[in-house]
Point group: C2
Chain length 203, copies 2
């Protein structure tokens, strides 16, 4: 990797940490200069502006988490493995990746609407692929569930997982694997295993 790319990568990582701590909008370019050791003007050699910086961070992180999920699912290929096991694999990957990349994933989750125009559209395109991936898994797990419920359940699961950035402390008592196991157990136990009718509109 060329030295330029390495410096850019370090820049993106450190900027992500600042965005995660202070929020995108209340972080100034001067804050970023102080945190990265660069000068105010020097950052513009690597990035066209503040919003492109956020875009680069989000696109890099989202691409990685999507590719990681697809790679993890290759091990439990469709048709060969239990649908529930595939769903469990997806959840475990998402949660452990989240915990291992807390700053970037917080910026991805919390600043989902801080981009505008074309940049927003590009990130949303990746998000769509990622959501579709999960909804496909849910279709295999619960084919009889109404589509509306399945879609809402997908967002509920993402809520459980993405909310992590609001409370999870890597130095705390629960490690990422255990947290992933808990979330997988709760969701799969409540959504996939539930053969008892829903109290609202049971069948």
């Amino acid at each position: 990797m060329r030295p330029y790319d390495e410096r850019l990568d370090r820049f993106l990582s450190r900027a992500a940490k600042v965005f995660a701590d202070q929020g995108y909008h209340s972080t100034t370019m001067r804050d970023l200069a102080a945190a990265t050791g660069m000068s105010l003007a020097g950052m513009y050699y690597y990035v066209r502006g503040k919003e492109e910086l956020l875009h680069r961070i989000q696109e890099r992180c989202f691409t990685r988490v999507l590719a990681g999920a697809e790679r993890a699912l290759e091990g439990v290929g469709r048709g060969h493995a239990d649908p529930v096991e595939r769903l469990q694999t997806f959840i475990r990957h998402h949660v452990t990746f989240f915990a291992a990349n807390l700053a970037e994933m917080k910026v991805l989750s919390h600043e989902a609407n801080s981009l505008t125009g074309e940049r927003q559209r590009k990130v949303n395109a990746i998000k769509r692929r990622y959501v579709d991936l999960l909804e496909g898994l849910l279709r295999d797990v619960a084919p009889d569930e109404p589509a509306v419920e399945r879609s809402a359940a997908a967002y509920a699961l993402f809520g459980m997982m993405n909310w992590i950035y609001n409370w999870y402390d890597p130095a705390g008592e629960i490690d990422p694997d255990r947290l992933a196991g808990l979330i997988a157990r709760v969701f799969i136990g409540g959504f996939a295993d539930a053969r008892s009718p829903s109290p609202v509109h049971g069948g």
Copy 2:
């Protein structure tokens, strides 16, 4: 109610809508003036500044949702009713309240760290009471669950419910009651009913 208080209330509601749409930090006082029909300087007769405005919105909303939950639980008093039913009551109230007060609840959830100093502390005090309320319910529902798991499960549930502001469309296909039923079914089915051991560290 005095006319002053009514005008203040309308002001808070309309400001909450703008904060929910644009985010707190990228909303300018001039945006709020345009949205409320007041003049830029006129708003300072009702509020000491932008941050106090956010504080008033959050405190008002949080007080209401806490009081609403306590009132809802009075109908299914502790000791008299099934712990699972009490938990279900809490979930149903939170979700339906969220859907009925989308703007305020989004500001509460998404701008949880936009306050500073004493104001942040005051809102966090209410939040603590609200979280404690849920953790108490979970203790009654799953007394054998380790405390670490129970605490994480509480945040997972809040994640499912609070993430709503990122995707829920009141004009969409699923109404608040049905959504509340789905979330209650998933969480209770996965956490409370799970008498099967956890795959990670089962007992």
